[in-house]
């Protein structure tokens, strides 16, 4: 359990942006894993199994509250201007070169948390879970065009939050483990 608890918790907390809910979901994931312990004990796919169950349980949890953010997702159209895209790319391209790794990671995590649900959830599914647009649309029950728009707007909004500055307090760094990059998938 110790080997996977950060991965399971990260999956849940990045989708929910609520540590309390993520902890509840993580507990449920490990209880289910215990029920399938005989199969998982020697399986090399245990990590993948846990990640899939964590993602599914989190999405089920979020789907119960979907109406709240689905409405906003359907209302806003893709009115992202070219300048906003350029500016966002510039933020990701240049600002991070000037920040130290720890501070950058803390800022990114906070910016992700502050995104509205209808932008953060598809963004996390696309970038962290590597789900295709079509799968995200089906899983969330929204149109393909809206998934693309929400992800695009999410990226731009995230750049805006990062550019605001003052996001990453030094204490926030303690919340993140020192697991090497790329180990989460």
């Amino acid at each position: 359990m110790r080997a996977y608890q950060d991965m399971v918790f990260s999956t849940a907390v990045r989708l929910t942006s609520s540590p309390a809910q993520a902890e509840d979901i993580s507990q449920e994931v490990f209880l289910r894993a215990y029920e399938s312990f005989d199969n998982l004990r020697s399986s090399p796919k245990a990590g993948g199994w846990l990640k899939t169950v964590a993602t599914n349980l989190t999405l089920n949890h979020l789907t119960r509250h979907r109406k709240r953010w689905r409405l906003f997702s359907e209302i806003f159209s893709d009115d992202t201007r070219d300048e906003e895209l350029d500016s966002a790319a510039e933020v990701f391209d240049t600002v991070f070169a000037e920040l130290e790794t720890d501070e950058r990671r803390a800022r990114v995590e906070q910016a992700l948390e502050r995104l509205p649900d209808h932008q953060r959830i598809p963004l996390v599914l696309y970038h962290y879970e590597e789900m295709p647009y079509q799968d995200i649309a089906e899983r969330l029950g929204i149109s393909l065009a809206k998934v693309k728009t929400d992800i695009l707007r999410g990226r731009v909004a995230m750049a805006g939050l990062l550019a605001q500055g003052g996001l990453g307090a030094p204490d926030d760094r303690r919340r993140y483990s020192s697991t090497p990059p790329g180990a989460q998938s």
């Binding site: 359990m1 608890q5 950060d6 907390v13 895209l85 963004l123 731009v156 993140y176 697991t179 989460q184």
Partner: protein, 163 residues
């Protein structure tokens, strides 16, 4: 490819790069204790309060067999009961149904008679009657109000009472 598409792709690539560089979030220290506590609580439950998969085979087999027998049994019993119920209901409600039908006819006749009487009264008489009724009610309310104010005068509070 348009410049917007190029910027879009570049942004996607940069965001992917930045997010993949993020370390895992550290799980709360309480998580492991919570999971172990829940497992211990579940282990303390008696077998009949757990899932059927963890029941003893000696109990599980008869229960599953019983359920398998119960399904067709309930189906046959439901059909038999439904047939009986329809027959009994039909014979029992025949009498009250006839009475209700007679009452319905009587009420319909009374309704038709009332309509006929109202239609035969001249319109001016009806309007006059309504005005007279309204006037009489207004006079009655005025008399009641005057009588109430005379018989039950409101108590007057002096400054002494208020202070």
């Amino acid at each position: 490819m348009s410049s917007r598409d190029q910027t879009d792709e570049k942004l996607e690539r940069l965001v992917s790069q930045v997010l993949r560089d993020q370390p895992l979030r550290r799980a709360p220290a309480s998580l492991e204790a919570r999971v172990l506590g829940e497992l211990a609580a579940r282990a303390r439950l008696p077998w009949w309060r757990r899932g059927i998969a963890s029941w003893p085979a000696l109990v599980r087999v008869p229960v599953i067999s019983g359920c398998a027998v119960c399904v067709p049994l309930v189906w046959v019993l439901s059909l038999w009961l439904a047939t009986r119920l329809v027959a009994v209901t039909r014979s029992r409600i025949a009498g009250p149904l006839a009475t209700l039908q007679g009452t319905g006819h009587t009420l319909a006749s009374l309704g038709a008679l009332t309509t006929h009487i109202i239609q035969s009264i001249p319109r001016d008489w009806l309007v006059g009657g309504m005005i007279a009724t309204a006037t009489l009610y207004a006079v009655l309310f005025a008399l009641v109000a005057v009588g109430y104010s005379l018989l039950y005068p409101r108590p007057e509070y002096s400054k002494a009472h208020l202070t």
